[in-house]
Amino acid sequence: MNTIPIRHKWEPYLWLLPSLLLMSIFVVFPIGIVFKLSVSEISKSGVVRGFIGLKNFRDAFRDPAFGTVMLNTAVWVVSVVGLSTLLGFITAMALNAKFFGRKVARSIVVFPWATSLVIQASVWNYIIKGEYGNLNNILLNLGVIKSAVNWRATYQIEFAWECGVGIFVTIPFVAFTVLAGLQSIDDAYYEAATVDGAGFWKKLRHVTIPLVKPSLTVCTVLNIIYVFNSFPIIYTITKGAPANKTDTMVTLLYMRAFYDNQKGPATAMSVIGFAILCVCAGAYMMTTMRKEEA
């Protein structure tokens, strides 16, 4: 007699089962293995030899490049996430306005996002090449410069280029998430604000931002994770050269694992990265959610 309520209880779990299974096989299980490897001794050719406590973590922290690379990672994440959020927001506002050719503009903006990162990075690599790069060619032909300019004169400049490419490819993601949020805002709010005499900035501050905040939060958390873990741009443009000065944590741990054969410390680094991401994303979500509740 009471089969229906019981079925209602377990039925959602049944439908969730496939994704739970997928998550455990492809996400939870590998994470568990990385944790296990991070406290194991791993030979240079990859043989796992057993528990060695926290030695891998000590080695990772003692890595001569660790300090520089942590700083680089912070600069990389803050600049790419920060600037792409700002510019993506502005782009979304522009794309939300009604103008001729809006659909074309929207599809153009999505292009950088729809192209694979490795290809994007390789293309930028060609653009800024000193000898026969596209940027030099265009400027030479326009007569803006008289001889080829070395656009990658120092590693600081190279790192800035990498951040720039990161920002360029991240803008579409922010723009489209924010655009979705903007489109869900009822025009009535703006009309009411106009009646109350609010100008552009006041509407932005008191109507737009509070209402797109949920999508902005999701987008920023995802962005922090993507950008922190982003590998192709730096690997393609500089490979961390010179001497790890343009590496971030993810490219450094790849180098350590597969160029230097220090697989143990490399796994420890990826666990450290995981912890940092958990803290950053958790803190960000908690503060924004608390504000919403208040």
Binding site: K44, V47, G130, N150, R152, T238, P242, A243, K245
Partner: protein, 417 residues
């Protein structure tokens, strides 16, 4: 219920087939590195006179199947170490390094599977590069040698001869800079994360230095090495080279050389075919690497290897060793090997193919002479990967203003200590 029963039946059948197949023949897992655009086609496509290596081998060696995979150099290290971690190492591996695998006890000694006649065929100086504790762990599959390539038109226009010493090199660079301004880089230098160890060898080996001393002990901070690397960094700082040696790879340099933007570059013997494939037309000439006054010239050779992994679970070890031996015998047979080596423009590792190669291309003879005097990286050292990445790090630190002597002292202390 019926469906489940049918499914179980199908699975049992499939299992039965696999078991039957395994009882009858041996399958060797082989990983080959991708040397160029033709490798895949030669091994698996139609690049071997309409057929391919695998089909031809299996036809001539019934009972042995090849599960052969061609893997790019970018991925092969990751793939092999993942397979080792998963207890699924290949039976036969073609790669450059071997010491780490040998140190972990993963390799079979070459004498266990290589027929004597074939073993005698390898150049002894090559075999000597794969020995640890008096045991040969791998055989060479091919080699290449590096030489200086110059753009003759540029040198003639400026009016300088091909430099043979470091002093002449600096004079030639200065003359090219004076003549062309910034339009032509006189000298190519590659200190990238990919191959910076080659640059290290070009300079230290031409200054009587090296990675190891006469006794084979690591000696990275010798005065000769410091002098050599300071000279190389000096070339960069004087503006004689391509502007970004830490990120401009050998392929970037080869392209600049092809486009006439670079007057001189050190490159492997395949450079001419690289230039031809890309449609560059350069009036090039080759010469020995410039040497510091009074030092013995040293050419850089690069060698790759083939090795066999242990598989203790395989029931019939003798049959497995014999199958691996047959694979090698087939690979190095002149009718197959000559095509393999010349296809991507490499140099051979066995005597039996030399005559045919020289007949096909007389310019080979000069390269074989270079090969004789070549030095190779000390890849038999179990810390070679640390040395290699270490010298690259030193070069890149020095490019950003670090002191060569201090850097090499620190590296030596780290490696030896």
């Amino acid at each position: 219920m019926k469906k489940i029963a049918a499914l179980i039946l199908v699975m049992l059948l499939a299992l039965g087939c696999v078991a039957f197949a395994e009882g009858d023949e041996i399958t060797l897992d082989v990983i080959i590195c991708q040397y160029g655009p033709n490798t895949q086609d030669w091994f698996l496509g139609t690049g071997m006179d309409g057929t391919n290596f695998v089909d031809k081998f299996e036809a001539e060696n019934p009972g042995i199947k090849l599960n052969l995979e061609v893997v790019s150099w970018n991925d092969v290290y990751t793939e092999v170490s993942t397979r080792i971690q998963n207890n699924n190492a290949p039976d036969i591996l073609n790669i450059d390094v071997f010491a780490n695998y040998a140190a972990d006890g993963l390799l079979l000694p070459v004498k266990d599977y290589c027929p004597d006649e074939l073993f005698e065929d390898f150049f002894p100086s090559f075999i000597a590069q794969s020995v640890i504790d008096d045991t040969v762990w791998a055989v060479p599959d091919l080699a290449s040698a590096r030489a200086l390539y110059v753009n003759k038109d540029i040198l003639d226009e400026v009016g300088v001869e091909i430099p043979t010493t470091w002093a002449e090199l600096e004079d030639a660079c200065q003359a090219i800079v004076d003549f062309y301004g910034g339009d032509v880089y006189p000298w190519g230098i590659d200190m990238t994360t990919d191959e910076g160890q080659a640059a290290f060898s070009y300079y230290v080996w031409n200054n009587d230095g090296g990675f190891v001393d006469a006794d084979g002990n690591v000696a990275l901070n010798s005065d000769k090495n410091v002098e050599a690397i300071e000279f190389a960094i000096g070339l960069v700082n004087k503006g004689f080279t391509n502007p970004n040696p830490a990120t401009q790879t050998r392929y970037d340099l080869q392209d600049m050389f092809g486009a006439g933007k670079l007057a001189m570059v050190i490159a492997p013997n395949q450079l001419p075919s690289y230039l031809a494939d890309k449609g560059y037309e350069v009036n090039w000439e080759t010469a020995a690497l410039p040497v510091n006054e009074g030092a013995t010239p040293g050419a850089t050779g690069v060698m790759d290897r083939v090795m066999a992994f242990k598989d203790d679970e395989y029931p019939d070890q003798a049959a497995r060793n014999e199958a691996i031996g047959k694979f090698l015998t087939f690979f190095y047979a002149p009718e197959n090997y000559v095509g393999w080596v010349s296809m991507e423009g490499f140099l051979p590792a066995v005597n039996s193919s030399v005559a045919a190669l020289v007949e096909a291309d007389p310019s080979f003879e000069a390269w074989l002479a270079v090969l004789d005097s070549c030095q190779f990286y000390p890849t038999a050292l179990d810390n070679w990967d640390a040395i290699k990445q270490g010298v690259i790090d030193v070069e890149q630190q020095a490019l950003t203003g670090g002191d060569v002597k201090t850097l090499l002292d620190d590296l030596q202390a780290k490696i030896a200590g």
